[in-house]
Symmetry: D2
Amino acid sequence: MSTDRLRVAVVGAGYWGPNLVRNFAASDDWDLVAVCDLDLERARRVTQQLPGIRIESSLDVLLADDDVDAVAIATPARTHHGIALAALRAGKHVLVEKPLADTSERGREMVAVAQENGLVLMCDHTYCYTPAVSKIRELVADGALGEILFIDSVRINLGLIQPDVDVLWDLAPHDLSVFDFVLPGGLQPLGVSAQGADPLGAGKSCVGYLSLPLVGGALAHVHVNWMSPTKIRQMVIGGTERTLVWDDLNLVQRVSVFDRGVDLIDRPESGAERTARTIAYRVGDTWSPALDEKEALRSMVEEFAASIHGGRQPRTDGTAGLRILDVLEAAGRSLRQAGELQPLAASGWRHPAVAVAG
Amino acid sequence: MSTDRLRVAVVGAGYWGPNLVRNFAASDDWDLVAVCDLDLERARRVTQQLPGIRIESSLDVLLADDDVDAVAIATPARTHHGIALAALRAGKHVLVEKPLADTSERGREMVAVAQENGLVLMCDHTYCYTPAVSKIRELVADGALGEILFIDSVRINLGLIQPDVDVLWDLAPHDLSVFDFVLPGGLQPLGVSAQGADPLGAGKSCVGYLSLPLVGGALAHVHVNWMSPTKIRQMVIGGTERTLVWDDLNLVQRVSVFDRGVDLIDRPESGAERTARTIAYRVGDTWSPALDEKEALRSMVEEFAASIHGGRQPRTDGTAGLRILDVLEAAGRSLRQAGELQPLAASGWRHPAVAVAG
Amino acid sequence: MSTDRLRVAVVGAGYWGPNLVRNFAASDDWDLVAVCDLDLERARRVTQQLPGIRIESSLDVLLADDDVDAVAIATPARTHHGIALAALRAGKHVLVEKPLADTSERGREMVAVAQENGLVLMCDHTYCYTPAVSKIRELVADGALGEILFIDSVRINLGLIQPDVDVLWDLAPHDLSVFDFVLPGGLQPLGVSAQGADPLGAGKSCVGYLSLPLVGGALAHVHVNWMSPTKIRQMVIGGTERTLVWDDLNLVQRVSVFDRGVDLIDRPESGAERTARTIAYRVGDTWSPALDEKEALRSMVEEFAASIHGGRQPRTDGTAGLRILDVLEAAGRSLRQAGELQPLAASGWRHPAVAVAG
Amino acid sequence: MSTDRLRVAVVGAGYWGPNLVRNFAASDDWDLVAVCDLDLERARRVTQQLPGIRIESSLDVLLADDDVDAVAIATPARTHHGIALAALRAGKHVLVEKPLADTSERGREMVAVAQENGLVLMCDHTYCYTPAVSKIRELVADGALGEILFIDSVRINLGLIQPDVDVLWDLAPHDLSVFDFVLPGGLQPLGVSAQGADPLGAGKSCVGYLSLPLVGGALAHVHVNWMSPTKIRQMVIGGTERTLVWDDLNLVQRVSVFDRGVDLIDRPESGAERTARTIAYRVGDTWSPALDEKEALRSMVEEFAASIHGGRQPRTDGTAGLRILDVLEAAGRSLRQAGELQPLAASGWRHPAVAVAG
């Protein structure tokens, strides 16, 4: 293991690539050595203020370079599999934009190849690296909320109708990756039921809902919508001890913790365990933690470096991406079957630590 | 038809009865003549400031009285059927609290008996008589929103867990009755898919979701929750022309109309009609109509009187109550079948005008 | 001292009287024995649901009654002095609506006569008995805010233009009485500067501002306005340790405490004490205390009884009312002199405990 | 008059200079030819991504250059006068940051010299070029608000305590320049009364209030505060017809127009004109106009170019800056005299159109 600066190349200079370029270039952990895009002009534009970065249109040439330790992939989802496999087989660590791949089968192969080669495969689930979500994960892990009872996420506003994917594939990965990140043990749904509608005739769902019964009786739910002029980005996580509200558009109070909620009063004298429980309400203080100002992508590239140096899985590893893909695919099946619940393995497996050639 | 004051008796002096008593007593359209409750003391309490109101513990005695034109029923749901049928058969017009009955079969009989006897059967869907919902109905009817694309309602906060019904039966009638009231042609779902969870072991769903695909491709959705310390009562109605947001907890701007949204641009040169549509976004002004201050129940008792005098169905008649029951029953079936879509007739039939012995 | 129920009569059955009637009638500390109003019909209306309450049009007759321990005065301000003096001289404890009197001279006489007779004279500064203000007083007293730096209150909305008083006399007593209640040592301004305007030609100020430099260098400020369609009722209290915001229209988070603010860093090496201070900013959590649901007037009538039983001054005694009157009179002088600062004694004296014939 | 691109040099590469550099560089109206700063390294940094911009440390050399049409000054306020006079005497048009100068006397000389030389002297009152303020000016000018009754501006949050100026000189120019921009005829106060406090011992006011009685009986008021952890940037403009609220932190509804307010009902039968007016309240719709997304500084540099090409005064000319200086100086006098109203000329003169050598 070494703490030297790692050398990274960004593949894809389109919508998200420039953000990666900017953050790798600004990081103390990384040397950004190359940007690769079939459109050389586009690659040139994103690096014009960064002297010394190589421009490359050939992935093969790039991967043949021993000077590259890692590759960050910001290309369309259908190309993730091919590029990632090539990179992993060339011995490069890989960061890949969400979704991990366009099918879970391909995603699974990517995870397997990374494991075989002892390399890090990380998903850029950006929201997980925001100060708000980091704090939420910490609070849930510390038991501040108690047992989780429900988790409800709304992400709606006027959005571009994507040419290739529906609103569930476009927006729900954000919510699902946060669920996966903050729930103890990750997102382990017993199944998924999906509803969607295409009232505009766009050829795909423009509003969608996901219901995910969880192990232990809790219910997770997602509402995504491209057609709402009111912007809402709000997640409520209800627990037996406290309830948390993350309102991402409330700049002055993004995360609120309500010491209020439902108490279970066990009555030992009663026979049956379930019916013996009496429910009481509690009113208490509200508390809003101060949050760091750190940019999410900066934390994300740090975690990518730290996982390579540490020879460990990153916090949003390939299997996290796989859990999201499994849900999205099952949601697609459910949509086609009028919302029927599609069972999921709920294995919730996490990658064992690997020895990484750091 | 007469415009004389009508004479009404309120049956049930429990939770909701006092509100009816107060509003009938204050109305120029009505003479409140009696309050009937098995618990005479309770009946006495709600009338102690109203001299001259008869107290009655026997329904039979009450209904035998020729001085009573109409009966308002505010008793538990399972008793609605029996009391309403007795009243209708005694020639009284009937107002009944939501839900209309505890089963759709019984509700259907109530509607039939009212029709046979040429009497008004009205549901007290209180929200429909608020100034906000009246304005929304008017705007939708005037085409201000264009074609409806989606309608999403959230009604969550810490609520008492009811002994006999789940959260869907307790809260969703509010949302569904508003859907039914504002949608042109009423609520005509093709089916309903329901999800619920009981993470506390309360023996019934404490959080629930309903998805209702509508004729024409729109999707209606309801989220009700007894376990949230954050109170949200918000409905978004998206249309092709404008989108409306009703935030019932925003006292200064309850209804907002966004002249913003999605435009369909038909391209005539293209072959297939559907794929020829291009979607564009539009940003415009927001407008918030001034609302009357009138109490909903006051408007409701006026409508009850007006429908009797006019020999017409009230705006929230028995069939409206029936449409809600049909959805709730189908939701129960869906819950028991893991969210499977339960088809509904989508008949959306409305009662023909009846000749009422006003 | 006795803890028996005390007997009270309410004088004045107009705008505020019914609220007092309702709360005295519901209190376990009080027997409401009479309501006195020159307009007997009005007195009858407010007691019609309260059997056994005497109706009286003559103050003299009322005061001659040995069955009355205390009198609550809810008549126009200009009559407070006469009624209160008569009551005090008849040996009755007195509660009086805000403002204490129409001039500070008269108020001072009321305080003196109460003291001479060993009787309680209390001001109904209602806001001081709200759960929010009680909590604020407690937090300030506990040092949670540190030294007070500034206190700013805004109370604006469309309001009825009063026939006899300007907006400062109408609304500012609310803000000033809260200042007096929560500031340690009470409201002790060094002076007051007032600005007002009458752009409508109403014959009196319809918008007004008060600036009150306080002992110790802090500044208090009030903005009252009858002409604003936006309703704002917000007070910010800045301290060296924390800052508190009371937003009375925010039903879900009325009081917020920001653990954020300005730190004074004393540099001992420096010569002059003042210039040695360096200022730093701090960002911390926000906290919103749960508040009781108790009605303010209920707490107020309890305090009136407790002060009589305890032979002590109530929390909002006559001298508190006097401090408000002193500010309002000085504000009037300032208004007539183009905002010139009018010095105030800043004596901030509080009444010594009296022996009350409880 | 020519519509050729104008050549501009930015003087001062500190806090605000880079914003001017960026906007001049991006403008179609301008060629940014040089950046001048005594600290050449700082000048280099702001231009490193802009090839071909000259770096200059000598103002004399810069001004001797015939290739420069205009100079934008973003240096400390005390240097504005010297730099601007030198530039104007060298025949350059001048844009200067707020405040225009550090004394009104110096500002007046700058205005005079610009006029003598037929050159544009413009103040960068940035807020006036925001889409919100542009819309407000338009609404006021169109009479949408009727006669102005009051205008109240609050601008508070945790702010850096400035080394050289108090909170009034630091923040109030924003509010005053907007008043000047939106009020018909500009800001014409009859006088100013100022209150301030320095409870931290910072050596200058950290909280301040300005009251400005206006011609016609309206009252303008400003509250600025460096010590508040709650950020408020809100302006309310009350008129006889409508009232407008500009809440700069409300991203979804920045400007709201309330068709609600106070009606003056003249009663002709009455004798005295003033007392004959009866006041009535009106409740109507609220309306929130859609606003452009255009950056304020981009509009500002366009106006600078347009005023030069058009041989006319810019919308925020030197005399506008002078009106702000007059208020700030009078406020300083008022502060030193315990808030005494300092009369102002209220001349409200605006610069006559000049023939500019465009």
